[in-house]
């Protein structure tokens, strides 16, 4: 395989700069992003004795996903007891599935209780990462600020943090209000407005029931209907909150139970098994029970296997669609015009506001910003054919660089935080090893990474995601670099095992 130089082409100039006594010091760990992953990493690193940490966050607040997604109805579709860190359980969750604001409150609590705020540098937007192999130092380039140098970098910038308006024909000509679900404009009053919602995914099914309550008319533009399953939401009884507070082990037990319920869903969602059919039957029954009209039911019937895309958990989406002031439009959108949306049946649907619940820009084939490793190698270029990593957290040729929600780490059936915790534990261990032995860097061996990927792609081939359905999990040419093909338990086992022989320690 190619031998990469230890020094970046311009390393000479850089190291001279680094030798300059007035130069900034090298931070032990820079964490990009102050969402769950960034804060969780900081907490666990500190616990392991690594305290020289800087968290760079482009926003002005912690929270990531839950700071950005404040649209009406925004909530988690994993029970809160499971969608929280096991090392920071919250006995006070008000509901089975908490809303966005409550989760944001929990994250803020994490930052406060673990005294993380002094570590965070807000309004620091990372533009690039460059590694100098000679020094074993990463340069973190920031927009309009002095760069930061770091031994290790944890990329915790979020799998779903970049939202933008989609590239729909004529979008610039629309003169009404445009709102993206992940950048909600709370100053806009929907009362009495005619509203179009584009998209019927996880965010849309939460927004629509709320909009229908206040807007004059809601038109829902659907491209592909998803699987909808009932959600067993409930208000947490007071006795449970008291019990959890007094006896944390009881909450741990509930958390465990929920974990295993979700694990068992993997059987149906990840692979095509009798459980898949059972879940689909449940979905079909639910639709039949909730949707009276045969044609509407047909429009809402998915034509892919359950689990192929994110399953929607909601009880009030179907009823909302059938409210007199709501209409499902499954005609394709031809273009946006000055006053609204023209769909292919030839009609212009005139609206005051368009809500784009069109998802996120997911970098499946690249990195969100340029990352250059040993010898100036470019991660974006290497990932052009599909992102690959070693156990999702590290990439050969990019020493001391760690990913959260890197390639093939995505959960389809269980809490993202369960996956995140085992990634964080692995990262802390690896960073700890480097620090303890005072190594310049540790780098995954290329052959170890290759073997890992051969195995994971073989396992992916057997999953529902790769069964022929299109989803954001797959790249345009059908390569799956997002999902982990197995149980959360298997992922945890993969991450629990640190094989030194898979590394090059320099």
């Amino acid at each position: 395989m190619t031998q990469y130089l230890d020094k970046a082409p311009d390393a000479g100039r850089r190291s001279r700069k680094a030798a300059d006594p007035s130069a900034v010091k090298v931070v032990e760990v820079v964490i990009v992003g102050a969402g769950f992953a960034g804060l969780g990493s900081a907490i666990q690193l500190r616990k392991a004795g690594i305290t020289d940490i800087a968290i760079v966050e482009r926003g002005t607040e912690v929270g990531g996903t839950w700071r950005d997604n404040q649209y009406p109805g925004a909530a988690c579709d994993i029970p809160s007891n499971l969608y929280s860190f096991s090392f920071a359980q919250n006995p006070a969750w008000s509901r089975g599935y908490s809303g966005s604001r409550e989760i944001l409150g929990y994250i803020k609590g994490l930052a406060r209780d673990h005294d993380l705020l002094p570590l965070i540098r807000f309004e620091h937007n990372v533009e690039a990462l460059d590694f100098d192999g000679g020094e074993g130092v990463w340069t973190v380039t920031l927009t309009g600020r002095e760069p930061i140098k770091a031994r290790s970098v944890v990329m915790a910038q979020g799998p779903l943090s970049n939202a933008g308006f989609p590239n729909i024909r004529g979008i610039e000509s629309f003169t009404g209000k445009k709102i993206h679900s992940a950048r909600w404009d709370h100053s806009y009053d929907f009362t009495g407005k005619r509203v179009a919602v584009i998209g019927t995914g996880a965010s849309a099914v939460q927004i629509i029931p709320e909009l229908v309550k206040v807007a004059d008319k809601v038109k829902v533009f659907q491209r592909t209907p998803g699987w909808v399953l009932p959600r067993l939401d409930f208000q947490s009884p007071e006795w449970a909150k008291t019990l959890f507070a007094k006896l944390p082990v009881s909450q741990t037990a509930v958390r465990e139970a929920m974990y295993w319920i979700h694990e068992s869903m993997a059987l149906g969602m990840i692979w095509n098994t009798p459980m898949t059919r059972a879940l689909e039957m449940l979905g079909n029954r639910f639709r039949e029970a909730q949707v009276k009209d045969a044609w509407l039911r047909r429009q809402l019937t998915p034509d892919f296997k359950i689990g192929c895309k994110r399953v929607l958990m909601t009880n009030d989406y179907y009823p909302a669609l059938q409210k007199p002031n709501c209409e499902l439009i499954s005609w394709p959108i031809a273009n946006l015009s000055e006053k609204g949306i023209r769909s292919v049946e030839g009609i212009e649907h005139q609206v005051d506001c368009i809500v784009f619940a069109t998802g996120f820009e997911v970098s499946k084939n690249g990195t969100p910003f340029p990352v250059h490793g040993l010898g100036g190698r470019d991660l974006n270029a290497e990932w052009a054919g599909g992102a690959q990593a070693y156990k999702s957290v590290q990439v050969s040729g990019y020493p001391n660089l760690y990913f959260t929600f890197g390639p093939n780490s995505g959960p389809g059936h269980n809490s993202a935080l369960v996956y995140m915790e085992s990634q964080i534990a692995y990262i802390v261990r690896s960073i700890g090893k480097r620090a303890a032995a005072n190594l310049k860097y540790i780098d995954v061996r290329a052959d170890a990474q290759k073997a890992f990927n051969v195995d994971i792609q073989k396992r992916l081939a057997k999953t529902n995601w790769n069964s022929g359905c299109k989803s954001w999990y797959l790249s345009a040419d059908g390569f799956n670099s997002t999902m982990f093909p197995g149980f959360a338990t298997q992922f945890a086992r993969q991450m629990a095992n640190f094989r030194e022989r898979d590394y090059r320690m320099v």
Binding site: V344, E345, G346, I347, Q350, K470
Partner: protein, 312 residues
């Protein structure tokens, strides 16, 4: 001749149009409204035409679920919507000519003839379960014989320039529908001939399909009778039906598709007025006049989506 479906889809997306692109208030309506005889005939004709768009629409909706790949599925999704657009345009023309009953905001949809109702009923009930070979082979025939031929009649008869402007756009859509339709006809002629035959024979025995055929054959004869009644030449219908055989039979693959053969033969019989075919089928037409309307299913709710308005 294989069609590049990805290019076709791109072309479809690039050539979309809306009702608002047509100037519905342009002069010329009097060319229809000023001729009482034409007006009366046209009122019946337009209603049928509008409903016939639905036959195509519903069949495309079924194809979208069966298409062998994502590109074709997306194409059929567009075609489904385009047929709805055609129906909307025809409704807008009726509105222009003062042919819609009821008040302006809630016009009463004209009733389709019983044979159309039976076909739509059947499509709504069974088309989603029909094998792709059957639907894929029937669609081009149906589009040529009904959709295509009727549009042609209309343009021969009506001078209103707005009608011509609208149908210029509709015909461009239809040309693409046919292009894809004949492509599918050929695609389905691939494979071992005996296997294709066995499969076709099996499908022919499917009672649901037999009901569909029993609904479809009298519709053709009914439309022929209606056209004759309107003083139009039935030859135009036959010319259109022959086109199916001519284009569909261009290639080896097309000819190997057993459904192409069945439909071509049936078309040949329809066209031959002396054929024995017409004895039972004309009898069916007369019989269906007595078909109790209460046995029909309620009009499917997708019909409610129709509108003559350019904006909603």
């Amino acid at each position: 001749m294989q069609l590049d479906t990805a290019k076709m889809l791109a072309k479809i997306k690039n050539t979309q149009w809306a009702l608002a692109d047509i100037d519905w208030d342009a002069p010329g309506a009097e060319l229809v409204t000023g001729d009482p005889e034409l007006y009366a005939k046209l009122k019946v004709f337009m209603a049928d035409l509008m409903w016939i768009e639905h036959v195509g629409a519903r069949a495309f909706a079924a194809m979208a679920k069966k298409a062998p790949d994502d590109t074709l599925a997306e194409i059929y999704r567009y075609f489904h919507a385009e047929e709805q657009r055609h129906a909307n345009v025809e409704m807008a023309l009726m509105k222009r000519w003062g042919m819609l009953e009821g008040d302006a905001d809630n016009p009463i949809l004209p009733e389709p003839n019983i044979n159309l109702r039976l076909v739509i009923d059947w499509l709504d009930t069974y088309s989603d379960e029909m094998p792709i070979e059957v639907l894929g082979s029937v669609i081009p025939s149906l589009e040529i014989a009904l959709d295509g031929a009727l549009c042609k009649f209309l343009l021969d008869t009506v001078q209103d320039p707005v009608c011509h402007a609208a149908f210029e756009k509709i015909n461009e859509d239809e040309a693409r529908h046919l292009g894809v339709g004949f492509h599918m006809l050929e695609v389905m002629g691939h494979g071992k001939l005996h296997q294709l035959l066995v499969k076709a024979a099996g499908n022919l025995l499917n009672p649901k399909l037999i009901i569909g055929i029993a609904a479809y054959l009298p519709l053709l004869n009914r439309m022929r009778d209606n056209l004759v009644k309107l003083g139009l030449k039935e030859e135009r219908l036959y010319e259109a039906m022959n086109k199916y055989k001519r284009i569909g039979g261009r290639t080896e693959q097309g000819r190997r598709n057993p459904w192409f053969q069945i439909i071509s033969h049936q078309s040949a019989m329809v066209v031959d007025r002396k054929s024995f075919y017409h004895v039972p089928v004309d009898a069916l037409v007369r019989l269906t006049d007595f078909y109790p309307r209460r046995l029909l299913k309620a009009t499917p709710t997708w019909v409610k989506g129709l509108t003559w308005k350019t904006a909603a």
